[in-house]
Structure formats: C-alpha cells, structure tokens
C-alpha cells in the first residue's frame, strides 16, 4: 500500500480534474483555431501563431503574474467576471482552468494544426464534389484523417497541464481541494522535509509522465507532436 494520505489523494484528484477539464476545453476551442491556422492565408496568421506559441517561451511565473493581474478586480478579465456577476477568478479552480488553458494552448493547437495541414486539399475537394457540405466533410474526412493529431494533442495537453507548477502557484495559491495540485503538494512536502511523502508523489508523477509518453510513441503518434512542423 502506498503511503498516501487523504490530502495527497485530494491533490491527485484535483490535478486530474484540472487536466481533464483543460484538455477537453482546449480540444473544443483549439480545433477551430488550428483549422483556421492550417488553412488561412490571412496576414494575421503569423501574429496569431506567435501568440499561441508565446507561453512556451515565457517563464511560467511571467504568465501567471499577468494572468493574476488580468483576473484581479482591476484587470479586464476581472471586470468581465464582475460584470457578469461571477466570483473573482484568482485563487479558484476556475481561475486555474483559464490560466492553464492559455499555458497549454500550444501543446494542443500545434499537433492539430500539423494534422490539418497534412490533409491534402484534394481530399476536401473530393468530398465536396461528392455532395458533402463543410460539416460532413469535417466529420467524415478531416476528423478521421487527423485522428493521430487529436490523440497527440489530448495526451500532450493533459500531461503538460498535470506538470504545471509556476503558473498555478501564482494564480491558484495553495488552497486544499481547490487549487492545491500534486506539483504544489510535492513542493510543500519538500519544504517540510517530508521526503517519503514527496518521494511517493514525485515517483507517481514520473511513472505517469512515462506512461503518457509510452502511449504517445507506442501508437506512433509522437511524430505529429510538438514543434515538429513539416
């Protein structure tokens, strides 16, 4: 039996819930964005792409800091939530979701964009000439042909969100069952010199990350993965 107390299990469940929510939402929102990026000839494309990839090149604390300000009472997102009569986002689970989505965006959008760009335009034209409208073409041709891209996007998006630390610490703080994720729990244990507990959780993280990568490369989808642009 692993020496996991209730607190640790709580943090694991919270991390899984956050990653699942973020991944699900990102697939939903990232798909149209990736499709647009893969097909457009708009001059805005470069700017949008740079923005999507930006979190990769920033220290997590920078992103977390600005998100904290934006979601705060004087920030634009804070003003919006206030106008809508919602509670403030900082130090809440919802705040973590919003921030993590931004942080994990490139890990979902890039594999999707690569997968979409890899579909020959001829396939789409053939589907249209066979009376398939845009939605039917997307559902019957684009989705099946970019399956690997979706698997890659989901796995990397999920794994990357699980592995967050800096961003969530800035935005979420350290509230049990609300914002105390596994990565933060481990930090707490180490701070408290509770190495056995830290070991257990950290070991689990290593095993989990390895398992996810195995899933990815075992299915041969890794080569669609991040930063492997054709």
């Amino acid at each position: 039996m692993l020496p996991l107390d209730a607190e640790a299990i709580d943090s694991i469940l919270l991390s899984l819930r956050l990653s699942a929510t973020v991944t699900g939402l990102l697939i939903l929102l990232g798909t149209p964005l990736a499709w647009w990026l893969a097909r457009t000839r708009s001059p805005l494309k470069g700017m949008v792409e740079a923005f999507v990839v930006l979190p990769l090149f920033l220290p997590p604390t920078v992103l977390g800091f600005y998100m904290l300000l934006a979601m705060g009472p004087r920030g634009p997102i804070g003003a919006l939530t206030k106008a809508l009569g919602l509670q403030g986002l900082p130090f809440t689970f919802s705040g973590l979701v919003v921030t993590s989505m931004l942080y994990s965006l490139p890990f979902v959008v890039q594999p999707l964009q690569n997968a979409f760009a890899g579909i020959p335009p001829r396939m789409l034209e053939a589907a249209q000439s066979l009376r398939a409208g845009p939605w039917a073409t997307f559902g019957r041709i684009v989705l099946p042909l970019s399956k690997r891209g979706f698997v890659t996007a989901a796995v990397t998006g999920f794994a990357h969100t699980i592995g967050e630390f800096g961003v969530v610490l800035m935005v979420g703080g350290n509230i049990p069952s609300e914002t105390r994720l596994v990565s933060i729990e481990i930090y707490d244990y180490v701070e408290a010199f509770d190495y056995p507990k830290a070991h257990t959780l950290a070991g689990l993280m290593v095993a989990f990350a390895f398992f996810m990568l195995l899933l990815l490369y075992g299915f041969g989808v890794g080569r669609d993965g991040l930063l492997r642009r054709s």
């Binding site: 396939m123 000439s129 066979l130 009376r131 409208g133």
Partner: protein
C-alpha cells in the same frame, strides 16, 4: 426560361433535352488569367485540350465550384449554378456534378465500398438515375469492393473514382486528366471503360487532356485552350480537318476517319469501311455491320502518287484533292493536306518529293494509305 432560386438546385428531369452548358469565367491567379466564354453541347464528350498551364484544369474547377473566387456565370440547361451579377453561387457540394481528379483522390481511411457510397448516400433516391449494380457492371469493379483503396493499382483506383463520381447521379461528368498519372498499360486498361461511359451515359462529359490518343478516341467535341483562352472549338472531325499551323499542338496529327463497317470478307480477313467521300479496307474488325469505327491515319503512313499504281501490295489507294501544303518543324519535310469529301487527312512528304511531283493545292492525286490504327 424559368429561373428559380429557392436555396436548392432547380431540378430538371434527367431526360430534358435542352441542357446546353453556358459557361463564362474570369479567374486571375498571379500572372495567369483565365477568360472563357463558351457553350458546351449537352451531349457527348467535350475534350478540353491544351498544354499544361493553358488553364484547362482551372476551367474545369470553375465549372465544379472549386474556384470560389472565379467571377462569371454558369448555366446548365435551365439551372443557374452561378451568376455573379445576381449574386447566385452554388458551392461545389450543391452542384450536381461528378468530378474525377488526376490522382483519383480516394479516401484512404475508407474501404472501396465506403468510398463508393460516400456520395451515393447524399443524393435523394428520386434524383438517382444510376444504381450501384449498374455502376459496378459498367466499370467492372465488383471484385474490388472489400479492398483497401491504398492497395489498388493506379488503374483500379481511377475506375473506383469514376464509379464514385457516377454514383452521385451527376448531370455533368467532369474528368480532369484521368489517365495522366497512369502508365501506358494502365491507360490501355481504362480507355475501353471510358469508351463505354461515352456510349452508355446520357450526360455530357467534359474531359481535360493533353493526349492526342484520348482526344481522338473519346472526343465528340473539342475545346482547345492556350494561355487561359479558348483558341478553337467545334466538332472533333471538323476541327481536326482545319489544322494548318505547324506549331499547333494538334498539327502533327494526320487525321481521323469516321467510318461505318460496310462488309466483312472473312475469307481474306478484311473489313470494308465506308466514310463520307470514300471507302477503306482494314484487317478484319470483328464487329457487326453498321458499327461506327474511328480510324486514325498518321501523316507518315500516307504516300502520294500522280497515277494510280496497279501492281502494288497496298490495299488502300484513294483519290484525293490537295487543299494546302504547310511547313513542318522539320525544314526538309512538308505536310500536304488532302480532302476526301468532307474528311481531311494529312501526308508528310519530303520537300524534294513535293518539287519532283510538282504538287500544289487544287491537284488531284492518289493517296496510298499504308496503315491505319483503330481508335474505337
């Protein structure tokens, strides 16, 4: 003419007689400009012929609705598919066309059978004029249904692509160089199927190609294109008779005889064929009397004499009228244009012979035809 726009295609009966296709397109792609205004007959195979880059594929794509930026209008029978002045534009998936791409474009994640029914299922049953069984028989693809399209030969893939397009019961079939990606033996394998389509389908076929063999075997009507413009159009027989420029891509073509089988001489193994203005013998063509047969005659296979040779092994010696003498790309050779009734043939002879025989337009001479090839 009734012009109805209610969000769906204004549907006419498939048998409807007046289904002329009127197409006018203007499409700019960088330096290239397609500017076309033609009427295509509602029957038979119209060959869109031209060198690569002449705009023939772009024209076909405009017809299909695959070039949404092309301006113009397209009227098929009494249906308006596109009219920019009135803001009418049917997107590709709303146009009742069948389109076959050069590379077949079968869906790799679907079996052959699922590729076939992909379009079929999207057409209302009352609009279908051809059934799955009919298409399978027409193209001889029954044994391929369960296969993975990626494991088919190029020729088989193209037959599936044709079948897939036909199963949408199109009102026009658009074929974009369907044989260009195939090797010679596969071309020979598919051409008979295309000939069958030409004979058995009651819809116009627009066929893009730059291959003379396909033009002469399949074509009824020719639209020749160069640099985005139509340079020549008309029925194949009259267009082919009217070629004078040596630089013309069709200029090296000898001629086509549109003949009918008149008699068989089975003992000698010969068939007599008649055509407007004459008759010709060929090795036995084992088809019923009255069958239409196209023969092509290469310019090198015709020699000219001033008097009918009596003692010769050559079977076909025809009285012809010289209508023109034109240059060829070889400065030592000329092309002599010969009229036999309505038909025109061309003989390539040396400039030396031209001078020795003192040949000139208006003269009657005898054409010795050494060989013909059977086109259909």
């Amino acid at each position: 003419m009734v012009l109805a726009w209610v969000g769906t295609v204004f549907c006419v009966d498939h048998e409807s007689s007046n289904r002329m296709i009127k197409a006018r397109f203007d499409r700019r792609l960088g330096d290239f400009r397609l500017a076309i205004d033609i009427t295509v007959p509602s029957q038979g195979v119209t060959i869109i012929f031209g060198a690569s880059g002449s705009g023939k594929t772009t024209f076909l794509r405009c017809m299909a609705g695959l070039e949404p930026e092309a301006l113009g209008s397209l009227v098929v029978g009494d249906q308006v598919w596109q009219d920019d002045d009135r803001g009418i534009y049917l997107p590709c998936h709303r146009r009742p066309i069948g389109y076959v791409f050069q590379d077949a474009a079968l869906f790799p994640h679907l079996s052959v059978e699922k590729n076939l029914v992909f379009g079929l299922h999207r057409v209302a049953s009352e609009r279908r004029w051809i059934s799955m069984d009919q298409v399978i028989n027409l193209l001889g693809i029954g044994h391929l249904l369960k296969r993975d399209p990626r494991h088919l030969s190029g020729g088989e893939q193209q037959r599936i692509a044709l079948a897939r397009a036909l199963l949408t019961s199109p009102q026009i079939l658009l074929l974009d160089e369907p044989l260009a990606a195939l090797d010679l033996s596969m071309k020979r394998e598919i051409l008979p199927y295309l000939e069958r389509l030409r004979l058995e389908l009651n819809i116009p076929i627009l066929y893009v190609t730059h291959a003379l063999e396909e033009l002469t075997r399949l074509g009824d009507h020719l639209v020749q294109m160069d640099q985005g413009q139509v340079t020549r159009e008309g029925p194949i027989a009259s267009v082919l008779s009217d070629l004078t420029q040596p630089s013309d891509p069709l200029g090296e073509w000898g001629g086509v005889l549109f003949t009918v089988i008149a008699a068989h001489d089975r003992l000698s193994g010969l068939t007599d064929l008649s055509f407007q203005g004459g008759a010709i013998k060929t090795p036995l063509i084992d088809r019923p009397l009255g069958t239409s047969v196209r023969l092509s005659v290469a310019p090198n296979d015709i020699s000219l004499t001033l008097h009918r040779a009596n003692e010769t092994s050559i079977l076909n010696i025809i009285d012809v009228l010289i209508t023109d003498v034109t240059t060829t790309q070889d400065p030592h050779q000329v092309m002599v244009h010969l009229a036999i009734g309505e038909t025109t043939l061309k003989a390539r002879i040396t400039r030396y012979s031209l001078g020795e025989l003192k040949l000139s337009p208006g003269m009657h001479v005898f054409a010795q035809i050494k060989a013909v090839s059977l086109l259909t």
